[in-house]
């Protein structure tokens, strides 16, 4: 008899974000203006748990909803109780506030232990079911870090559950395909990527939910070891509005007009700068600075400005070396009527200027990801980024390459910018098992102690990185779109990795840095960083790192892997994607092939087909064609989205496209606000018209 602990979270309703929700002066999102709702993927997690309970057919099995949050988070527990939960636990305490994923996963794991002991009579036969990620943080880290704390199997990105011979098996998304796996032991963590059937509230359960007392625990009750701000291993340096969308959002009335736009945009050679990433100049270590008072500082605007004022003042006083600064100088600055520094702030800043020693030492590392015997594009992008970071830090780039028979790929990594490749080969690493990979990577980490460790934010990286970070006790920032080295803190922390990422569904940007850790870890969105041109003349070192494995180092049994055959050319100049609005596979094939063929033949450009996650799920095409957060990030000149609503997870994957065209019947489709041109209409009508118009334009020579 299994039981189910479902993690739920209260989040701001990102779908309700309107212009009203932003401070007109600062451009920042005012979070209190947004209503609070249950995280949508968590509603699917509840349904998934209910499905498991139904499949196992034992009504005695319990579903327990668990959340951590302020007292008002009780609302999401009542949501759970009104659908399927039998009991609900609210972990609430002032001491838990301000936690990052580390200090969230830790108390939740301890609460799980307490639930197991007190509500499940100590039974180890339970599953923790969670939404794959929350819409406010988008990190997907908490479940994996909990799994690491509890030392249990973690099956991330589950889309379906099956039950045979008393055993659950799960379908999970992997890069370019899907896999059916079963956990070798219980308890196990399951994170749900998408499950289409959220439960409805019943009248009976709702009335009960409104009167049932919730089980309420504080930080001390669960005996968590890392809580709140103090227990967190990252801190937010600043939050700022993302650059306004540069998309034109123009409506097009006719297919003829649209054909013209395609002709104009498919052949262009210019690429826009990325909208999501801030372009910064390189970092120079203090020892090499020609201007000693330039701190390459990252902080609040006020702090940055203060350092500029101070540098100007020191210049005015003819100070050229931090060593010249004494109490008299300090007094002079303080007595300057134009400058208003607090004494303490000035002291801190002057100390900061004398600091030269970087906070962290060691190499800059990248975790390589291999799929179908080839290195993933994201690995090369990260290696390019790591090269840039390592150069400004005066250190080496190391790439960790783990797997079975992956040795021959090492040279490619060196060509791409690596100085060293740490090669860990073992038969148990043939397939991605979070436990064996976590062991291999953390073993290498502890042997060499890099200062920065980057992973791709892929289905694999987003599970592995949180587990490794938790195991070795380092902070982690997910899904970065900007990585820069800067000095931080007035008093002077030198050469810190600034990790910039979108949050709240891309409505705000946050710059985060690691604290209380020996290494700075981040995952980075694929398709954002630039890979370097391969340089086969580069030389590097291959370091073989041996790790001892036993059978206990595996947590999953892989029953079936489905990967699409044939190659997908996502570096094509034009990508045409279909979504749920294509209705069926026949439409998808017929319409997309037709349009792809016409554009390819008539314009002489490379064209590839893409799809949304839903389209893949509905069987319109293979997983390998999936574009988006759980698929591949692309950046073509022209992206044509047909029957695609524009969910954030999909749009993240096309953020670096030059021109986006959307075709959709729904007047309110969110994609219309995130594209350059759109036409309202059904694919079945528009696409044939468009093909005819394209042919016509070219034949008549226009």
């Amino acid at each position: 008899m299994s039981h189910y602990i479902v993690l739920v979270k209260q989040v701001p309703d990102v779908s309700q974000i309107t212009d009203n929700a932003f401070d007109p002066k600062t451009g920042n999102l005012i979070r209190t203006r947004l209503p609070s709702v249950i995280n949508e993927l968590d509603t699917q997690a509840l349904a998934f748990a209910r499905r498991m309970q139904r499949l196992s057919g034992n009504p005695q099995e319990k579903i327990i909803a668990l959340t951590m949050g302020p007292p008002m988070a009780a609302d999401v527990l009542r949501y759970g109780l009104s659908r399927c939960a039998d009991a609900a636990v609210l972990l609430t305490d002032r001491a838990l506030g301000g936690a990052d994923t580390w200090a969230t996963a830790n108390p939740l794991a301890y609460a799980t232990r307490k639930i197991c002991a007190e509500l499940l009579s100590g039974s180890r036969d339970y599953y923790i079911v969670a939404g794959m990620q929350s819409v406010d943080g988008d990190t997907a880290q908490v479940p994996a870090q909990m799994a690491e704390e509890l030392d249990i199997p973690c099956i991330a990105y589950a889309t379906e559950v099956h039950h045979q011979n008393g055993q659950f098996t799960f379908t999970r998304i992997i890069s370019g395909g899907s896999q059916i796996v079963e956990p070798l032991t219980t308890p196990a963590m399951i994170t749900v990527a998408k499950y289409e059937y959220p439960l409805f509230a019943s009248f009976e359960r709702t009335r009960r939910a409104n009167v049932l007392p919730l089980i309420q625990w504080g930080a001390d009750d669960v005996k968590a070891t890392a809580v709140g701000v103090a227990g967190s291993k990252t801190r937010v340096i600043r939050v700022f509005p993302p650059g306004k969308t540069t998309r034109k959002c123009q409506q097009v009335q006719t297919s003829q007009e649209l054909a013209k736009i395609i002709l104009e945009n498919a052949g262009k050679n210019r690429r826009k700068e990325t909208a999501l990433t801030e372009i910064k100049t390189g970092y120079i270590l203090p020892a090499k600075r020609t201007r000693p008072f330039d701190r390459s500082y990252e902080g609040t605007e006020k702090e940055i400005e203060d350092f500029q004022i101070l540098a100007a003042k020191l210049n005015e006083l003819n100070i050229t070396n931090p060593a010249q600064i004494d109490a008299a100088i300090q007094e002079k600055i303080l007595s300057d009527g134009k400058i208003e520094f607090h004494k303490k702030a000035l002291e801190d800043m002057l100390i900061g200027l004398t600091q030269t020693q970087p906070e962290y030492t060691g190499e800059v590392w990248v975790m390589a990801e291999v799929s179908k015997d080839a290195l993933q594009a994201a690995t090369f992008e990260l290696t390019g980024k790591a090269r840039q970071l390592a150069d400004s830090l005066d250190t080496h780039v190391g790439v960790v390459l783990a797997g079975e028979g992956v040795g021959p790929l090492a040279d490619e990594l060196i060509s791409a910018g690596a100085d060293k490749v740490y090669l860990i080969e073992h038969p148990l690493l043939k397939e991605f098992d979070p436990r064996s990979y976590c062991k291999a990577v953390s073993d290498a980490f502890l042997a060499y102690k890099p200062q920065i460790f980057l992973y791709a934010a892929t289905p694999q990286g987003r599970v592995l990185a949180p587990m490794v970070s938790y195991k070795i006790g380092c902070g982690l920032t997910a899904d970065c779109t900007g990585l820069d080295i800067r000095d931080s803190s007035r008093k002077g922390q030198i050469a810190i990795l600034m990790q910039t990422r979108p949050a709240l569904g891309g409505n705000v940007m946050a710059t985060i840095c690691t604290k209380d850790s020996t290494c700075q870890m981040a995952t980075a969105r694929p398709g954002v960083m630039k890979r370097l041109p391969a340089d086969p003349s580069r030389t590097g070192q291959i370091v073989k790192h041996a790790v001892q494995f036993t059978g206990a180092d595996l947590s999953l049994r892989i029953l079936k892997t489905e990967k699409a055959h044939g190659a997908v050319q996502f570096d094509s100049e034009v990508i045409i994607s279909g979504g749920k609005g294509m209705q069926n596979r026949d439409n998808y094939d017929r319409l997309l092939d037709g349009l792809c063929g016409t554009i390819r033949n008539q314009l002489g450009v490379t064209v590839e087909k893409g799809a949304t996650r839903t389209a893949v799920e509905q069987g319109f095409t293979e997983r390998i064609h999936q574009v988006g957060q759980t698929g591949t990030a692309v950046g073509p000149r022209l992206y044509i989205a047909i029957g695609i609503s524009g969910a954030i997870q999909h749009m993240i994957g096309v953020a670096h496209t030059e021109t986006i065209i959307a075709i959709n019947t729904d007047h309110h489709a969110p994609i219309f606000k995130q594209c350059d041109y759109y036409i309202i209409g059904g694919a079945e009508n528009i696409v044939p018209e468009l093909i005819a118009a394209l042919n016509n334009h070219l034949n008549t020579g226009h």
Binding site: R51, Y197, F200, F203, R207, R208, H667, H668
Partner: protein, 553 residues
């Protein structure tokens, strides 16, 4: 364990009537379990009105419950201001406007029925906000207000003439009616007594009326109100004034000689924070098959008098709702006992049709009927079969019936004689004989509305700001009784008027067949059910938690 599917008092509909009943009842019987269900996702989401509210009914409800309620923060946030300027206008063409207050005042002096059309001293409020406040008050008293539950049917024992409960709508069916993995069959809620307070033309009220054999002496007549909330400039709002209400007759619904000739009028109410509500109410007994009440709203907004206050403004919210205008003769009653309801089931507010057309108000009666129902239940819960009788008696004692009497023939007279002759004739009020007027759907003619604006009304934006949505994968809640009627009779003669008059653009012609192609846009106004010229459309309740999300309507 307690049986949560049983409840002593079930109130269907968390609007002003239902919540008033819940509040008044819980105050008198704190230990009684009272549950209110509503199909909307949250308080006030489906409530739309003008609105001006007579304070007396609200005082009667709240005085015993919340001491000094008028001084509370909630009250101040909802009851924006009192009417200090009451403009009744007549629009002559697209530019000229005359005040006809003098005529109304004279009528009042002579105690003529339409003299009631004055609003000075009444509160200006948004009924969605009012509902939110009443909901909060009810919950604070211990009433269970449960949103997201749609009643589909009443369990009526035809032999014993008593109701056992209601059945909720099934959820989790796909478009073709197949059960999805999350299918939840509609639960049965058993109740000792049921108060139906669903608002205008509710599914449960009509089902109950039919099952229990209630009869309307005269057909119910409806109007459709379409309304926009417009954010205007500081200067425009100051010029309009925060205590002024405007009611305008004439153009574009009625013009002399060449027509058009429709009953209704435009309204303008200040809603605080530089927002003005602009609405158009049109009697559904109009005859123009190409007419859309939103066209009249467009024309009204273009009128020189209106335009000065809203030009350059932004529409931030919109909605549409029907009003039951038939008056006292259209209230369904039990033929044997003349009760408004039967046995343990009572009809409240707009579900009964307590709109006084001379006052063009119904909110005060909705609240009064809630108080009357609460009194009846408090008195007679042990003898549930007699509740409707006590309720009807209490309505009489409260003066609701008497007030309705004064307006009993108003709407019918206008319908019979047209706005020009009917309005003065209605002065004779109660002396005229009762006439039965044909239902609204029978008045459609192959005639064109002369003032149709050149640009088609932008229904997409209208529904977008009404924030209406439904779960897409559910069976269509609108059905055509016979599809061939549309193609063989309607398209040729009238050109499928549903496509035009539906304020949400639900209907579309697909392969020549007019059909409810976009049911997820539905605003739950039910105009289609009452105005399809062949009475061919049936509105049933969709899955709960859908529909519009009114905030300040």
């Amino acid at each position: 364990m307690q049986d949560y599917t049983n409840v002593s008092v079930l109130i269907v509909g968390a609007g002003p009537a239902g919540l008033a009943a819940a509040i008044a009842l819980k105050k008198q019987k704190p230990d009684l379990d009272v549950a209110v269900i509503d199909k909307a996702a949250g308080p006030g989401n489906h409530n739309l009105s003008g609105a001006v509210l007579e304070a007396a009914a609200l005082s009667k409800l709240l005085d015993p419950v919340v001491p000094n309620w008028a001084e509370s923060e909630d009250a101040k946030a909802v009851l924006l201001s009192k009417v200090d300027r009451d403009d009744v206008m007549f629009f002559w063409g697209s530019r000229m406007a005359f005040k006809i207050e003098a005529a109304i005042k004279m009528a009042k002096a002579f105690r003529l029925a339409f003299g009631q059309m004055t609003h000075r001293g009444d509160y200006i409020c948004s009924v969605s906000k009012l509902t939110g406040w009443l909901c909060k008050t009810a919950v604070s008293l211990g009433v269970e207000v449960l949103h997201g539950f749609a009643a589909e049917d009443i369990l009526w024992d035809a032999d014993r003439h008593i109701a056992a409960g209601v059945k909720l709508k099934d959820q989790g069916l796909d478009k073709h009616g197949q059960k999805q993995l999350n299918y939840l069959p509609g639960e049965v809620i058993r109740a000792k007594t049921i108060l139906i307070a669903e608002g205008c033309d509710g599914l449960l009220a009509e089902t109950f009326t039919a099952k229990a054999g209630l009869v309307r002496q005269s057909n119910q007549l409806y109007s459709l109100g379409v309304k926009e909330l417009i954010r205007v400039s500081d200067a425009q709002y100051a010029k309009f004034g925060s205590g002024r209400v405007v009611h305008a007759m004439g153009w574009p619904l009625w013009t002399p000689l060449v027509g058009p000739a429709m009953f209704g009028g435009g309204i303008m109410y200040p809603m605080g924070n530089n927002h003005i509500a602009v609405g158009m109410i049109v009697g559904l007994d109009y005859k123009y098959c190409d007419f859309n009440p939103q066209d009249a709203l467009t024309r009204f907004k273009e009128h020189a008098f209106v335009r000065q206050f809203i030009d350059g403004g932004t529409v931030v919210e919109a909605g549409a709702k029907m009003i039951p205008e038939g008056g006292l003769y259209a209230v369904p009653r039990c033929p044997d006992t003349q009760t408004i309801g039967r046995s343990n089931v009572m009809l409240l507010g707009d579900s009964a049709g307590f709109v006084n057309m001379c006052k063009i108000k119904g909110l005060h009666n909705a609240i009064e009927s809630g108080i009357a129902a609460a009194g009846a239940v408090a008195d007679g819960l042990d003898t549930p079969k007699g509740l409707a009788r006590i309720y009807t008696k209490r309505l009489e004692e409260a003066g609701v019936i008497k007030e309705m009497e004064t307006a009993k023939n108003f709407r019918q007279t206008v319908a019979r004689f047209g706005p020009l002759q009917g309005m003065p004739l209605s002065v004779l009020g109660g002396w005229l004989p009762t006439f039965n007027i044909e239902p609204d759907y029978q008045t459609m003619m192959p005639a064109a509305y002369r003032l149709k604006p050149p640009v088609t009304f932008d229904k997409d934006t209208f529904t977008a700001v009404a924030a209406t949505e439904h779960r897409e994968e559910q069976p269509c809640h609108l059905t055509l009784r016979d599809e061939t009627i549309c193609t063989e009779k309607c398209v040729g003669k009238f050109g499928a008027p549903c496509i035009t008059f539906c304020p949400a653009g639900v209907y579309e012609r697909i392969h020549d067949q007019p059909k409810p192609a976009n049911p997820s846009n539905c605003l739950h106004c039910k105009t289609c059910q009452r105005k399809c010229p062949f009475d061919n459309i049936r509105w049933t309740v969709p899955e709960p938690n859908g529909g519009p999300q009114y905030k300040t309507m």
